[in-house]
Amino acid sequence: MTRTFLGMPASALQRSFPSNAAKAVRDSQLRFNLRKATHTIRDKRASVVGELPDWEELRQAGKAIKDHTLRNLDRYLVQLEEAVTAAGGHVHWARDADEANRIVAGLVKATGETEVVKVKSMATQEIGLNEALAAEGVTAYETDLAELIVQLGDDWPSHILVPAIHRNRAEIREIFQERMGEWGRPAPEGLTDEPRALAEAARLHLRERFLSTKVAISGANFMIAETGTLVVLESEGNGRMCLTLPRTLISVVGIEKLLPSWRDLEVFLQLLPRSSTGERMNPYTSTWTGAAEGQEFHLVLLDNGRTHVLADEVGRQALRCIRCSACLNVCPVYERAGGHAYGSVYPGPIGAILTPQLRGLDSELDRSLPYASSLCGACYEVCPVAIDIPQVLVDLRAKARHPRAERLGMAAAGWIFNRPERLARAQRAGGRLRRFVPKRLPGPMSAWTDTRDIPDIPRESFRGWWDRTGGGDR
């Protein structure tokens, strides 16, 4: 498989997850920002999910609908294409990031425009669309508030829902003041870090953009095969500005975003907002079918490694993901490592199973991602489509190449565990050598003793005691 591009700079891919995370964990400002933000959303989610007595049924329904759709993806994709075309839209198929970028750049250039506005979208980040457009002389303007912060700050997203989660208010104010002018209307004089003031500055900055730009690019949360309808859920209303005002709309959507019918959408409109922002319903839901009069609509269906994931019996459940980010918000590893450590636009638990599947296990970073979890299971518990993330992690670990020292250690342990006599002998040897165990262990095991003592090795193992005393009878 050729290396699938997942919207991150090459520098983020050079180091393994543990070393990226080690750096992040020492950044106390980052840890504070992340802890505060993830715990707030986590608590909100828990309270609105707790309100629904049938949450578990909804979750199982979401899982079943997605599984059914994925099993019949070929059929539903063709049905979608026919419905979109019948409604006056144009459908394009993109095998990978390059092809998708080429298609979109060609469509934009055909309009003669050099500027586009963007609705928040993971798929376009995944393929690095903004950079590809820039190379073709087209400027893409992010209109989601958090994406705007990331774009103005020359930064990378670190969360699926809240890409600027690693920034606090003071940092955002600084970015606005310094950079807004370069991209359009500057921030007002004397901007404070009050949320209301920051939002107002963004609103004024963006409003002009919406009114003057003729091409918009979006993703979609769902696509309905039956009618060819696309659905976007959002909180700010900036999305619907992009979806309605410009003359040309281009939507780049992963092929797994399909739902068979409108009836299925009902389930997901309950699952997604509660899991994502912790709201009963998100403020804005836009749906569109084909092109309105005088407007043009293009749908670019993106594979970029997805069919490869679909072929894997265990891993394919990752394609059920509706990008709610609940798994990030409960993950103790994400909370401390931050999103950038994952080297992909998909961070956190879902990133740890999706990125190595999309990109392969070739780089050191991608091989380390399935190990970026203590397997605590919090992600699986909150996932609205019941993706058993720990199961996929363990499965990927079995597929990854392992370090030589570890292979030898595991082989030795396996050899001992294969025969109880060997285990007993090893335990007796340990008991005799117990006083010679140093406080600080050498080699890879020093990672344990850097912060933790090792337990005292007992003189006698349990089985030794059982044999000597007849289970305590003698």
Partner: protein
């Protein structure tokens, strides 16, 4: 009922006191527990680190050793979850019969024996950490707490952020040492706010990790497995 003890390799090798306490407790409740000598390890470390074949071999071995018993008691939520959750995916045919007969200690006491008061006495301030695999793997719920609440003299204090992982995660602790240590630091911080003398859990592996930090930081807080507290009486705790 033929009851076997699956001690687990960690308890067998490093925490024999937990095994002895489990035997003492079960005998006190009238259960004659056997210790099949051929047992070794459930295979969790191999499977979770990515060495599945070795794990499957150990799962089959487990089924051979324990197949003839009516119930298998495990004083470890993590190894219990390994058997009950992962064996059906790893080696369904070989382990299908034995898996439903495997109980974590608190499940065996409450669900099989039907006791919540095991007649224990332990006059200390204790806080309980529900380890991830006990909580989200086996869904032990409040079983361990119900047992602890019935221990005479015991002052049970709630642990803030109890459901958050301590950062052990098997080989995770050495593969991602910085994140693991940061998680443990927060867990230890929460333990310290309780003022407890003893941190209790149903898993010695997590306790070994938290306890290693507790002693390194010279906190004076002791770690104890649930079985050890439940086995304690006026005789052992004068």
């Amino acid at each position: 009922m033929r009851v076997a003890l699956f001690i687990t390799c960690v308890n067998d090798t490093l925490f024999p006191g937990t095994g002895k306490a489990t035997v003492t407790l079960l005998r006190r409740l009238g259960v004659d527990v056997a210790f099949p000598r051929a047992q070794t390890c459930c295979g969790q470390m191999h499977v979770n680190t990515g060495y599945r074949e070795e794990g499957v071999r150990l799962a089959r071995h487990f089924a051979d050793v324990f197949g003839g018993y009516d119930a298998v008691v495990v004083p470890s939520g993590s190894c219990g979850a390994m058997v009950r959750e992962q064996y059906p995916k790893l080696a369904p045919a070989a382990t299908g019969a034995v898996v439903p007969k495997v109980y974590e200690l608190s499940e065996f006491l409450i669900d099989v024996l039907g006791v919540t008061d095991v007649g224990a006495y332990f006059p200390h301030r204790v806080t309980y950490h529900p380890t991830c695999h006990s909580l989200r793997g086996l869904h032990l719920g409040d079983r361990p707490l119900r047992l602890l609440r019935n221990v005479r003299g015991l002052d049970l204090v709630p642990l803030p952020g109890a459901e958050e992982c301590c950062g052990f995660g098997g080989t995770f602790a050495v593969k991602n040492p910085d994140i693991s240590a940061a998680m443990c630091a927060d867990k230890v911080g929460n333990v310290m706010t309780t003022g407890a003398e003893v941190l209790c859990a149903a898993d010695n592996s997590c306790l070994m990790h938290i306890g290693g930090t507790l002693t390194r930081q010279k906190t004076g807080v002791k770690i104890m497995h649930l079985a050890e507290i439940l086995a304690a009486t006026e005789v052992t705790e004068p």
